[in-house]
Point group: C2
Chain length 218, copies 2
Amino acid sequence: MTSIMPSQSEGWIRMRYEKGHKDATRKRIIAVASQRFREEGVGSVGVATLMAEAGLTHGGFYSHFASKEDLVRDAMVDAQDRTLERVTQAARQGGGVEAIIRGYLNPAHRDNPGHGCVLACLLPELARHPASTRAALTERLERSVALIADYLPDADPTIRRDRAFSILGTLAGNLQLARAVSDPALSDRILASGITAALTLATTPIAPSPETASGDPS
Amino acid sequence: MTSIMPSQSEGWIRMRYEKGHKDATRKRIIAVASQRFREEGVGSVGVATLMAEAGLTHGGFYSHFASKEDLVRDAMVDAQDRTLERVTQAARQGGGVEAIIRGYLNPAHRDNPGHGCVLACLLPELARHPASTRAALTERLERSVALIADYLPDADPTIRRDRAFSILGTLAGNLQLARAVSDPALSDRILASGITAALTLATTPIAPSPETASGDPS
DNA sequence: TGTACATCAGTGAACGCGCGTTCACTGATGTAC
DNA sequence: TGTACATCAGTGAACGCGCGTTCACTGATGTAC
């Protein structure tokens, strides 16, 4: 109480763990969370089991994150970044938008949600999360859309962006159907017809422009 | 113990509540559940609050359903039936597939998930439910697909069914995006471009047939 | 008509459990002097 | 060199709470005779 604070020369402090230890722990928590959220849903994964899987006890969680919601945001962004990096490589290596589509509506992707696209696993659940989380989602969404848009034939970049959004929605929706359906053969058919649909959207000249949406709900 | 069972003439028993009372209660529970599951997600809605909203106490739940999962299945099926009935009317009254699409990717539908399509609210979550629940989902899915298929131009019914599946996936995925995104203007754009995409899929002659999906995950 | 009993939709207390979050503490490492 | 103290990543008990499910019970209504 009465003692004087140490001079703390040069503004940084040596640690009892090696440098970067805490950051490595944090990344480990995010990696575990990112996979399990996608596999089981955000609401079904508790902080305690998450920390145990990262080799820690649950009490330490709050020295890394202010709340579970903060982890949700960070884990979601991490997953989006990794997926985008992977997909970008596939596209840039000459596969273009067709490589993106075939890589997405794929049995391996369908059967490994924990390492796949966040949207197909969590989109409706994330829509019920706070605005801050949805804002982070939206920002990364724009990057994925920009990648797809790069490979669309339209001259107008606004049209390219719009089309890219609808393609991304088509990919996510069809993969969700393939995962939800109880008949494996049907699931495979859905993947195949989803590929056809997405390729159609990626190549067809623009359709008759719809008026701004309005009318009765369904 | 020693008394003889009543003759129970004609195999049915008069009730202390008016006839159909229990069935009405059951339908009320399903109606409440069906809306709240869609609004909040299955995992976020507890049996106790559900029963309270139906004007009952939670103890009586298990004289109506064997488990929460049974209610999930029944509420999901009920929602799908009601939605399909509504959409069928809109299509049959001359609107065809365009009425379905514009009714689906619509601000009113986006903003009222509790009375809208189950797929857009719960598809990834339902994919993690038991096979019995997913089988019930699949069965009703086929009916929705059959409705859409009725309005597609292809001669081959198998191609019509495949295309209808991909259109349904496109509708669900794009509505989910519109709901998740944090920017209202972007949300409206997504609805509009989703309409364009779905109309394209509903009218474009068949695209180059893709091989059966295989290859790397994304 | 009166009495004993059967039916059963709904009640409410209780079960064990996991949830997100808080907090006093440990113990390894560092600095000050 | 030795001692007192500061730092802080991680520990583990505890908080109040809601979860799905079970069960003995209530009380209104019916039947049997």
